[in-house]
Symmetry: C2
Subunit: 277 residues, 2 copies
Amino acid sequence: MWVMDNQRFLGERDSWSRAEQFGDGVFETLLVSAGICHALPFHAQRLESGLKRLEIALPEQNLQDMLKDYIEKMINHSALSDGVLKVMVSRGNSARGYGYDRQAKACVRVFYSPYKRPEKACYVNGIEVQYCNTQCAIQPQLAGLKHLNRLENVLAKSELNDGCFEGLMSNHLGFVIEGTMSNVFFEKDGSLYTPELSLSGVGGVMRNLIFKYCERKDISLNVMDIKRDNAEQFNSAFVCNSVMGILPIKTLNKNNMAVGQLSRQLQLAIESGEMYA
Amino acid sequence: MWVMDNQRFLGERDSWSRAEQFGDGVFETLLVSAGICHALPFHAQRLESGLKRLEIALPEQNLQDMLKDYIEKMINHSALSDGVLKVMVSRGNSARGYGYDRQAKACVRVFYSPYKRPEKACYVNGIEVQYCNTQCAIQPQLAGLKHLNRLENVLAKSELNDGCFEGLMSNHLGFVIEGTMSNVFFEKDGSLYTPELSLSGVGGVMRNLIFKYCERKDISLNVMDIKRDNAEQFNSAFVCNSVMGILPIKTLNKNNMAVGQLSRQLQLAIESGEMYA
């Protein structure tokens, strides 16, 4: 096929990136602190299950070693021991159709950038959060995966009002699912509540770490369908992801929320490293 | 940010394709026959409404002229007056986050390939079609758009059994939505029935052309929710898109279907050019 790029001829090609044509792949975003990614096994595990679900095969046997190798190479190359590593794995290249060759060579693209943490006040006092109109798709075959089809996150993010740090998205059934770039937890009377993600959303690495931590510490955690209307019964909540950690919600759609005790405990567990034990 | 591509350092970049990172864009696939695309205004219209919905701005004032110009350039370049033109328009490049700069420069990528039409028997006798397990997302903000988030089409297509030409996808509510690369119409007692696409699916150019044709010819056409179980009441059906035209369904999940009279009439309208009037 012949290819043009913004009016410029690129010549003849056999194939083109399936990530670009279809979003045919998955990705991970890892926080690197002092040369280390604390959540490495969890990222490797999710990457592996995503690739399995999409039937994308990588030659690398051990994905944790692969990620570790990329971190080391990027640190050596950039001389930055703190940063964010984004790893995209796609089904490589093909012609224009949806069908693919099962022998196609997967493509790994890695980005490493400096990371600017949210200000300390965001962690201490919390952040402003709003509800977004853009929904999370109901798509059971893709739910949980951190795949490359992220148009709805782009649209939801673009809705955010000035001063709003994050937006919460619901699905068509009216269930709260997640933030545009985070998972959400609610807190009440010493228990945590977080949305069920079997129909919609991304199963975040920090969400998974919190699950394990709560299990170890015998903290009551409920994974359930939470209607947006019912979310008002909770007076504490936080959003989280593996890069920024845990950010309490100060206001949700302008309504005040308090920082919960468990939210604080989980923040401390990240700081002390106990979260990654 | 520093970039690596399959273990190879590409150096430092400011940004990377948002099509590849997020599927942040839309596309059109046009059939060019003897140098002409009959459905050009319809493709231009859908492209325009897609870009508007995603708030992606192109410098080109007239998208029909832009598409026409690409067709001419590709024909001159390739010396092929018949082929398929795929035009992807994305929100250009950015760093790793979902947020974007509203001044970002959109990117147009164009592919032109020879087209191999399905065999004549597919048009005359029909094709084998199966139901897919992979669902169409329920996502009202993206429904109707031909956007670049096409992972579910990829997964659905990969389900097809040998000999099956196309697969029908339903959404989580159990409504039949479309084929992996086509829209679907059912026929009964001189009327046509096609799924409502306000929650899921792509509003195809051929679907739209059929709507206009039925209006002109006073053919009864019903756009409605069709449960998969209710689809059995129809004994004729076809799938369609603007590239391959109209293909009757010979068997649906191994059950025989007859080629409908209206299906034939619509096929003839494409051949005579009346469909594009």
